[in-house]
Structure formats: C-alpha cells, structure tokens
C-alpha cells in the first residue's frame, strides 16, 4: 500500500521530462498560425508530461532570410522572442541562442547577450559546415560559459542540399574532437538521412550526445542508438513532431530500466546544461 506521504511526494514531484529539441514561432515568420502552433506545442507537452521545452527560434523561419542562413537582424528578433517566451513561461521553457557562424563577432555578442539573459545553450543550424574553423570561437565561448551546443545534423550528408549547408556526424565529430570539453547535441537522429551511418561514427566521442528527436520512428533505431553510445549519451526530444517523441518514450519504457529511462528523460540533459538550468537540479 502506498503511504500518504509517498503519494504526496509523487504528486509534488511528477517524473521529469526534458525535451532538448523544441522550436517556437513568432509574428515575423511566414506562419499566420504561429500562436496556435506555439499553444499546441505547450498543450501537447502537458499531455505527454514534458516538464521543460528547451527551444530555439531560427531567425524569421524563412520570412526575411532563409531558415538555415538567418540574417543578423532576424537572429536578434528571433532570440528576443525566445527570451520573451522563456520569461512568459519560466516553469516550462528554456532557450537556446541561435547564431550564424558567418557573422563571428555578431554571433559571439549574441551568445553573451542571450546567455546573460537566461538562455542555457547554443543552437547552430546549418549556416556553415560543422568542421569549419569559423565555429571554433563559438565553441570556445561555449566552453567558457559552460553551455552545450545543439547542432543541426543531416544523417549522412551525401551532397549539398538546397537551403542549408548541412553537416553530418563525421563533420560534427571533427569539431567535437577539437573541443573536447564542450558537449554537443547531435540533432534529431530521426530527423532525416541515414542514421545507420551516424551511429558508428560516435563511439569514441563522449562529448557528443544523441538527440532522439525527429519525425522518424524507424523500428530498430532506438536499439541501435543504445547499442552505439549507451543510455548515458541519449537525450529525449521531439523537434517538429511531438507524437514521435512520445512514441519513442513509450517504446523506451519497454527497453530500459526505470533508472536508465530517467537518464534519457532528463538526467543526461541536467548533466550537460548549466547547473540550475532546470527546476530538477
């Protein structure tokens, strides 16, 4: 029989679940329904039990500069909106500061500004190849500030794809080896491309963690992730599709012990983000 005291504690402390890969929209994007989409994410998050959405805004989402090549003005506006959302929902939303490495001084200043204002990580989309030296000063600042970098990844980049200067695990790996004291989130293993190419690359890179988000829900993918990097390097997330995140979580409940599941749900995230970033800390 469960004691009243335990019941009270369970009610007070529901299981923590951190979505490390979320996005929000704003009024200067191409989406007239941006409010509905933002509200839908939060509503679905409540149903799934997401404690914290760690989110980014990629400039104007293509409205006045390309999604993956955001202009400086769009980055500032998007980051400002991200900060506003974090202020409006202090118990539910945390922000990544999004920067374009092609504007080095702007990127460094924007990172300092937004981390000082309470953001907890850096988002790099696909404005410059991951192994390019232009990313080094950003990584140096990440190390100095003790924040992780979420890097957009195309799982096995076979060519250049329109609209982005995408990178794959091999290219992110080169960057991660140059900056071994920075934690990198390899974005959306289910988000497109060939994840069977990505996973073998990651074995000897303890500072690269796999973000499980993305619309892909391939049978065998989660087992392969666990086999390739272990539960200590898996992070739960949704990206553009909350149902796929929930599906993976439900599947993991059958694969992992409760303790290991907790690592994926939030403990690994709590380890790599700054102390105090989450209420669970």
């Amino acid at each position: 029989m469960v004691s009243h005291d335990l019941t009270r504690r369970l009610v007070r402390f529901p299981p923590v679940l951190i979505d490390v890969h979320a996005h929000f929209l704003h009024d200067r994007t191409p989406r007239a329904d941006w409010r509905e989409r933002n509200a839908s994410r939060l509503r679905a998050g409540e149903r799934v039990g997401i404690t914290i959405h760690v989110a980014s805004i990629l400039g104007s989402w293509g409205h006045t500069s390309p999604i993956y090549f955001p202009s400086r003005d769009d980055l500032v506006y998007g980051n400002d909106r991200m900060l506003a959302l974090q202020r409006e929902h202090p118990a539910r939303i945390r922000g990544y500061v999004t920067v374009n490495p092609n504007y080095t001084e702007h990127a460094l200043a924007e990172i300092r500004r937004c981390l000082d204002a309470g953001m907890i990580g850096i988002k790099l989309a696909a404005s410059r190849r991951a192994d390019d030296p232009l990313l080094d000063p950003i990584c140096a600042l990440a190390r100095e500030r003790g924040v992780p970098i979420l890097h957009h990844i195309w799982q096995h980049r076979r060519r250049d794809y329109p609209g982005q200067e995408a990178s794959d695990a091999v290219e992110l790996g080169r960057l991660a080896r140059r900056h071994k004291s920075v934690n990198f989130l390899l974005a959306h293993i289910g988000g497109g491309g060939d994840w069977t190419h990505t996973l073998p690359v990651l074995g000897d890179m303890p500072n690269v963690l796999v973000d499980l988000s993305g619309s892909g829900v391939d049978g065998g993918m989660l087992e392969a992730c666990i086999g390739a990097v272990g539960v200590e390097r898996l992070l739960w997330g949704c990206d553009l599709t909350i149902e796929t995140g929930w599906a993976k979580l439900r599947y993991l409940e059958h694969l992992l012990s409760p303790a290991d599941l907790d690592l994926v749900r939030w403990r690994n995230a709590a380890r790599i983000f700054p102390p105090g970033a989450f209420p669970s800390d």
């Binding site: 509905e36 989409r37 933002n38 839908s40 994410r41 509503r43 679905a44 149903r47 799934v48 195309w154 799982q155 076979r158 497109g192 491309g193 060939d194 994840w195 069977t196 619309s215 892909g216 829900v217 391939d218 049978g219 065998g220 989660l222 087992e223 553009l240 599709t241 909350i242 149902e243 796929t244 929930w246 599906a247 993976k248 439900r250 599947y251 059958h254």
Partner: protein, 256 residues
C-alpha cells in the same frame, strides 16, 4: 477492436529491421493493445513477382486469428486475375499493389484493370505512398513515391473500386480528397501512420476537414514503431465513437 491495417512480415532489403516474424509482430501487438493486424509480405514488394510471397503469407496467417493476409498482385504479370480471385476466395481483407516499387506505371491500362477487378471481387486495393522517408532511403532504392494523381486516377477507374492508401501525409490526402467527387472520396480510406500530430496538428486538421470516417488505424510496423500511431491518437481530443471508428469501425463495409 483496434485493427492495424498497415503491418508487415518478413525482412526489409535495405536495412536490418528487428521484429519481422509473426511471433514478434504478435508480441508488438500485445505491447500496444492492437487486436488484429492486416499483414503484407515485406520482401515480396521488392521481388519481380510480388505474388510469389503470397503462399508464405497465407501460411503465416493461417490458424492465427489476429493476423489477416493482404496478398500482393502485380497487374502486368500473367495470371494476376487469379491472384485477386484467390484473395477473394480466401477472405483476404484487401490486396495490395505498389506500382512504383514494382517498376511499373502507377496509372496504366493494367492498373485500371486491376482496380476494376478488385471492384468486381469486392476486395479493397491497398497502395503505399512510400515505405521510408525519402531522405534516408538506400542509395539504390530509387522507387518514386506514389503520386497523388495516381490515386485520383485509380479511384475514377471503376465506380466499385475501394482504395486503402497507406503512408500518405497531409498534403497528399488533401490533394486527393478535395480533387475527387464526394462519391470518389467516399471510396478511399487513409491510414494515419504518416500524418503529423502536434504542434503542426495535421491529423487533427484532416479529421475536421476531411472527416474521421475516412481514416483508419495503421502503423507501418515493424519498419516503424507502432507506438507512434497510438501516440498521435492519444494527443487528440477524440470522442469515443470517432476513436472507435478510426481504430476499426471505418473498416466495416469497406473491407470484407
């Protein structure tokens, strides 16, 4: 009764997929509360004669009340009419044809003849738009996605034809549904496995604009984890009646 119309048995040629045996599929169904599954022979989709996998499929489903076979038919192979007759005689809930995987035109006299034969036999024809995300497919997997225009053409090919289309996304469904007459649209069922949930809310939108009576529960397992289709339904505020319709009720009358 929760029925998965979109399940597979057998190996996939382009990557290792766990859980492709009948026993493994039944275990996954137990795990996710799926009562029955309509099963297709996955390797046969890539064979020169996809119907060559049907005997194994019938045998695998025989004596297993929870699995119902969906045999494959290639309308440019001699004797294809007997495959449809055999399926009807065996009580198969549908037959499937995946023209782009077979390397044949999705709209052709042969495909129209197949649609008509299915209509006469009272057996729905199942077609998959895709099996995998185009961004991750094997470099040698060149089969095109099934075009929406093909579904519009095929449903017009025979007034008795009924189609079940799997792995379609929201734009595909909308293009066909609103590009068809009400009668044509009423003869198409869409599985939900490839339709996005929140925050884009594509499924919620389609249930409002197209109607819950046009959708059926499908997962694409074991290529995809079946939890996904359940999660997207659990994220909706569906009435019990609508949920029951999607999970099985809409198949009454559409399938044998």
């Amino acid at each position: 009764m929760r029925i998965d119309v979109n399940a597979f048995l057998g190996s996939y040629p382009y990557r290792r997929v766990p859980g492709t045996s009948p026993d493994a599929l039944l275990a996954a169904m137990d795990r996710t509360g799926i009562d029955r599954a309509w099963v297709s022979h996955l390797p046969g989709i890539f064979w020169r004669d996809p119907a060559a996998g049907n005997a194994w499929l019938y045998e695998a489903a025989r004596g297993q009340a929870r699995l119902r076979p969906v045999p494959a038919v290639h309308p440019e192979m001699a004797g294809w009419e007997s495959v449809v007759r055999e399926a009807a005689d065996a009580g198969a809930p549908a037959v499937r044809c995946d023209p782009t995987f077979y390397g044949i035109a999705p709209v052709s006299p042969a495909m129209r003849a197949l649609v008509a034969a299915c209509g006469r036999a009272g057996v729905p024809l199942m077609l998959a738009v895709r099996l995998e995300d185009g961004r991750q497919r094997h470099p040698n997997d060149h089969a095109a996605d099934l075009p929406a225009a093909a579904i519009r053409a095929l449903v017009r090919a025979d007034a008795a034809a009924r189609l079940i289309v799997t792995h379609a996304d929201r734009p595909f469904v909308e293009e066909v549904h609103f590009g068809s007459t009400p009668d044509e649209a009423s003869r198409i069922l869409w599985d939900i496995c490839w339709i996005w949930g929140p925050p884009e809310d594509h499924l919620e939108t389609l249930l409002r604009t197209v109607g819950p009576e046009r959708f059926v529960f499908g997962t694409g397992q074991p290529l995809r984890i079946p939890e996904n289709s359940l999660a997207k339904l659990d994220l909706l505020d569906l009435s019990a009646a609508d949920r029951a319709a999607i999970e099985g009720g809409n198949l009454e009358g559409a399938a044998r």
